[in-house]
Symmetry: D2
Subunit: 345 residues, 4 copies
C-alpha cells in the first residue's frame, strides 16, 4: 500500500501515519520529495484496511498495490486449476461445451435440447428451473418441477446438469439435483447467496456481474472460496456499455486478464452477451481463440415457442457448424474438446 501525502502535509502528519502503521504491526517507508512525501506500507494489507488511512490528516491518496483476494489468486496458487463436474473437466487442457435450453419448459423440449447439445459436442447440460427476470410478469421458471425434468433428462442422456439458483434459501434443494450450481449476473454481489453456494459442496459457475470489474468478480469468487469451496468456474457473459446493437458487450479480454490473476477456469457465454442468434457462432469461435476454457450456449428445438430468450438460441441448422468449431479450434490452442475425453455413454 502506498500513501501519497498532500503538498501541505507536515512532518507531524507523516509521523502520525508511521506510528499508526507500527501499531498495526506494519512497516512504513518514507520517501520525501521536493513537493510531496510518499509512504510505502509493508505488512498485512487486511490489517491496514481497517485503519481508515484515507481520513488521516495530510493524506491525498491511498493506493493499493496488491490484490485484495487471496484464495482465488494465482499469486498463491501459480498452477491453473481444473474443476471437475461429475467427472467432466473444465480447465487449461480442454475446451468444454455446456449447452441446453435457457429455461426448462417441458420434458419433451428439455430432452430434445439435450440431444441437440450432445450432437454438437456438449459434455454438460445447462437449463434453468429458476429464472431471474427483469419483469415480474415474465416466466419465472418451473421451480422444483424443472429440476425433476433435468434429472430425468440426465438419466436419459448421461449429461450432468448445470442449473441456476437465485435464492440462498433454495441452495440445498437445487444442490440435491444439480451437478453444478450457477450464480447469475444479477446475483453476482448477492453475498448471502455466494456464501450459501460456497457451503453446498457442489462446483459453482459464477457469472460476472454485468457491471462488475474484474476485481469485483474475483472478490465475489473469494466469498465462495472462503466457505471452503474452490471448485469455481468463472463465466464472462458481457458487460453493460453504451452500445445498444448487442444486449451486452462481450469482454473477451477478460479471459486472458483473469487467467493471469486467478487460477480458476474461465468460460464464455456467447448467447446471453450478444442476445442474438447470428452472433453466437462467431463469438464462440472468438471465445475459444482468446483462450477460454469452455463455452455455455443456449439451444432450443423450437425457439419461436421459447418462454425465455428464444431469439438467441441456436437451432438444429446451427449444430453442424458448432460441432465443427468444437472439433477444429481447440487443437489450434493446444487443447482437446472435453467431449473427446469424457465420452457420454
Amino acid at each position: 500500500m502506498v500513501i501519497v501525502m498532500t503538498p501541505e502535509a507536515t512532518r507531524q502528519d507523516v509521523d502520525a501515519i508511521v506510528d499508526l502503521v507500527a501499531t498495526a504491526g506494519g512497516d512504513a517507508f518514507v520517501s520525501r520529495g521536493v513537493n510531496r512525501t510518499i509512504i510505502g506500507l509493508v505488512g498485512d494489507i487486511t490489517q491496514f484496511g481497517t485503519l481508515n488511512l484515507g481520513s488521516m490528516q495530510g493524506v491525498a491518496d491511498v493506493m493499493r498495490i496488491s490484490t485484495p483476494y487471496k484464495l482465488v489468486s494465482r499469486e498463491n496458487h501459480p498452477e491453473r486449476s481444473t474443476v471437475r463436474v461429475a467427472g467432466v473437466p473444465i480447465g487449461p487442457d480442454t475446451v468444454t461445451l455446456i449447452a441446453g435450453p435457457c429455461a426448462v419448459e417441458t420434458p419433451q423440449q428439455t430432452l430434445e435440447a439435450a440431444r441437440m447439445a450432445r450432437a454438437a459436442g456438449a459434455s454438460l447440460l445447462r437449463g434453468g428451473a429458476y429464472k431471474p427476470r427483469t419483469s415480474p410478469y415474465a416466466f419465472q421458471g418451473l421451480g422444483e418441477a424443472g429440476l425433476r425434468i433435468l434429472a430425468d433428462v440426465r438419466e436419459e442422456t448421461g449429461l450432468p446438469i448445470v442449473t441456476e439458483v437465485v435464492n440462498a434459501h433454495d441452495v440445498d434443494l437445487v444442490a440435491s439435483y444439480a451437478d453444478m450450481l450457477q450464480v447469475g449476473t444479477r446475483n453476482a454481489q448477492n453475498f448471502a447467496l455466494l456464501q450459501a453456494v460456497g457451503a453446498a459442496g457442489k462446483p459453482v459457475m459464477l457469472k460476472r456481474g454485468m457491471n462488475a470489474t474484474i476485481e469485483e468478480w474475483l472478490m465475489s469468487a473469494e466469498y465462495i472460496a472462503q466457505r471452503g469451496n474452490l471448485d469455481i468456474v468463472l463465466c464472462e457473459r458481457g458487460i453493460r456499455t453504451f452500445e445498444t446493437a448487442t444486449r451486452n458487450t462481450l469482454d473477451v479480454s477478460a479471459v486472458p486478464v483473469v487467467q493471469r490473476l486467478s487460477h480458476l477456469p474461465v468460460i464464455i457465454d456467447p448467447s446471453h452477451s450478444g442476445g442474438r442468434r447470428d452472433l453466437v457462432l462467431p463469438l464462440t469461435r472468438s471465445a475459444i481463440a482468446v483462450g477460454a476454457d469452455g463455452v455455455i450456449i443456449d439451444v432450443h428445438p423450437h425457439p419461436e415457442q421459447a418462454l425465455c430468450d428464444g431469439p438467441q438460441a441456436l437451432v438444429d441448422g446451427d449444430l453442424e457448424e458448432l460441432a465443427r468449431v468444437m472439433r477444429d479450434f481447440p487443437p489450434l490452442m493446444g487443447r482437446l474438446p472435453a467431449a473427446a475425453l469424457t465420452p457420454v455413454a
Copy 2:
C-alpha cells in the same frame, strides 16, 4: 407494440403474425410501405410478450411502445404519492432529510451520529446493521446487535429508523425493528429479496442498481408493488460510468425523469454516489434543486475511526451548512423541510 418486417418479408409472413396476434386476443394493424411493412399491435402487452414475435419469419425488429410496469406507473396513478415512515412524509410537498452513520458500530457512535442528524434537520435515522461488502474480509455489520442499538437510539432521540436488509431470510427480523427497510444497490435485482420486502408490511427504500436503467429500476419496484406494498421510495445513488474521479456518477436527471414516469417519491444519496466528503454538500443542494423529495446522508462523529465509508461521512463542522441548505433550498422549490412538519420531541 410495433413489429417492423424485413424488406424480404412475404405476405404470408405478415399474415402469420396477424393470425397469431388475433389468437392472443389482440388486434394487428398493417402499414405497407414501398420497402417495409410495419404492424402495430393493440391489446394486452403482457400477453404479447409470451408470443416470442421476434423469432417469427420475416421480423426485423419488435419495438415496445408502452411501459412494462403498471402498479408504479404514473399512467394509471397520475397523482404523485407521499409515503409515510412512522408518520414522517416523503413526497411532493416536502424535502426529507435522512441521516446517520453508514454502519452501526457502537451504541455511543450511533447515538452521537443520531444527534448530529437531528441537529442538521433530519427526520429519519439511517444506519446499517447488515452491510453488503465487496470484500469478504471487510466489516460485515453487527447484525441483530446493531438493530438493537438502532432501536435504543430511536427510543432516545425519537428518530424512526431506516436500515438495510440483504437477505430474504432476514426480512422478518429486520422488519421487527425497522420503520423502513432499505434494499441496496447490489440487491436491486435480487428478486427474492424484493418479493420478501414487498410482503413485510413496512415502507421500503429501493436504491437504484448502479448499472440499472431507469426502466429496470421501476421494474424492480414493480416486484415489491406486486406483493401489495406501494409504500416505496426510490433512491438514486449514482451509476457506474467510465469516470473515476468520483466513486459513481450521480444521475440527477433521473429525478425528473422518474417523477414523470412513476408516482413514487424519489430521493438522492449524495454520500455514496460521490464517495467523497467534499462533494456531499454540493450534491445535496443539487439534489434538492433538481426536485428530489429527500436526501439520505452519512454522518459520523469520528470518521477516521469508521469501519465503513469513513471518507464520505459529514462531520460536526459540516452540520451548520447542511442545516442551512435544508432550511433555505426547499422553499425555493415550493416545499417544506419534512422536519418542519414532524418536529421530533
Copy 3:
C-alpha cells in the same frame, strides 16, 4: 511517481531503475517490503514520462501521483479565475446565463431568440453557424452567413456572441465575428483545433468530450493554455453512459471536482445533456445549486420548425420560470446573476 516491482524483481532490476532515474535528473527512494519493493520517484514528471519505465524488467505497475496538467491546475494558481467575455464575467462571484438558438437559421429567428434570452436574464448570446452533425444529411449550419446574422443581432441587442468553430482552418474567420469561441464535445480531442483557438486571442468555451474523463478534459484545456490563452471556460454537457432515457448523463459532480483541481470557471449545458425540454429547468436549478459558474441554454421562438435540436429548446412559456431561477438561486450560493452586474444597454 511510484513504481511497484513484481514479487520476482531482483536487486539488479531495482538498481537499473534507480540509475535510469538518476540519469534523468531525478531521485528514487526504495522501500523494500517482504513481498514487494516500491520505488518513489521525485523530480520532473514530464522527464520521467519519456523513460518508459513500465517496460523495464521487474516492473509491475507505474502510478502517477501528481496531475499531468500545469497551467490550468489550481496547484499553481490557487485563486479561482474569472474570464471576461466582452466585459461579461464568468467566474466564482457570479452565475452567468448564456442563451440563444442551437443553430442560426434566419435573421428573424435569431433576433427573436436573442430577445427571449435577454428576457430570461442572459448576458451572452449563443448560436451556431457551423454545426457538427452525426449525419452528413443533417443541416450543417449557415457558415459565414450565420456569423453575419449573429453580428447583426449583437448590434441590435447588445449581447456578445458565443459561437462554435469546428475546423482549425476557420478559426480566424470565426474569431473575427465572435466574442467567445466554442469547441464542441466531438472536437474535445481535436488537438489541431485546440491549438488554433489557443492562438486566436479570444476567450474559449471548451465542452467536455462526452467520453472524456475529467483529467482528459483538463489536458485538452492545457493544449489551449499552452498557446498563451488562459481565458478558458469549461462546460460540462453530459457524458455517455448506458442510460437511454436521457441523451447523455449530466455529471453535476464534475463541477466541484473540477473547481478543486483547476482555477478555470466551469459552467453547465442542461439543454444538450438531457436532450429534452422538460429537463432543462430542473437541470438548470441543479447546476446553479451544485456551484456552476453559469449555464448555457437553447431557446427557440418556434421549436417545431427548428433545423437542429428543436425538442430541447425552451419556449416563450418557459422564460418566466427561467428568469425566476436566475434571480432566486444565485443569492443562495453567495453569488450575483451576471446580468445584474453588466446590464445590457
Copy 4:
C-alpha cells in the same frame, strides 16, 4: 419511421401529422388502438428528418426503423467489398496483417520494425508521423520527416504504408506519401477531416470512436463515402467502459454486427484496445476467429525506448507465434492470409 402518439393525443393531432407527412411527399398509415395511436410513415426518411415530428402536438415518441446511412449500407450493396491498398486486398476472402511501430522515431527503428512486420506475415506497414496525444507534453510525432522515413522504408521493404492524419489541413501532404490514410479514434467525429480524406483519392482506415455506437461509426464512414470515396476499411479498437484492467474494452461483437449492416471491410486493432503486450496475441486470435478481415498490430525493436505506447508493442520473441497465428487461423475461416496472395518482393 413510426410515430407513437400520447394517450391524450386528439384526432386533430393525428390529422396534423398525416397532412404534414403528405406535404413532404410521404404516406402515413394510422393504427388506432384502445390506448394509443401509432402512425407508420413510408417514404424518404431524409425528408422526414427535417420535419421535427418529435415537437408536434400529441407525439410521445418517434422511432426510426431504417438505417440512416446509405452509401456504406449493405442494404443497397449486398456483396461485401474488398478494398485494395497498393494492390493488397482487405476484404472477405483474406486476413490482412498490418504491422509496424506505433510512432516513427528514427529511420533505423522504423526499418527494424518493418522487417519484424514482414517476418510475422504483414502485407502493409503501419507507422505514425502525426500522433494525437492526450497530453500536450507528450511526443507529437516527427511530422513530414516521419513521412519521408516511411517512404524510404517502403522503398527498402516493399511494404505499402498506412499512416494517420490528424488535421484536414495536412491531408494532401500526408496523401502524397501514404498508401492508406488512417483517421484515429479521437477524430472519429472530426467531420472536416472526414470530408478531407474522402476527397483525397486514397483508401482510408477509419477507427471507431472510443465512445461511438456502431451506427455513429457508420455515419462517420458515410461522410467519407459522400465525397466519392468508398475505399474505406473500418477498424474496431476498443470502446470506453467502466473496466480499468484494460485500456479499453475490445468489442469483438462489432465485427459480425458491422458486416451485416455494411459492405465495408472491418479489421481489429488488438494493440491499442488492450494497451498491454500480453493481450495482443490472444486478441489477435480472437479477432480472426470472430471474422475480422484483418488486424493492425504495434511492433517495436526496442519497446523500452519507445516514445509512444511501448508497453503494448510486440517484440522479437513474439513474432514466431504471430506468424503461426496468421498461418493457422485464417484457413479455419475459409480465408487466406493476405500475405499469401501478395508476396512482398
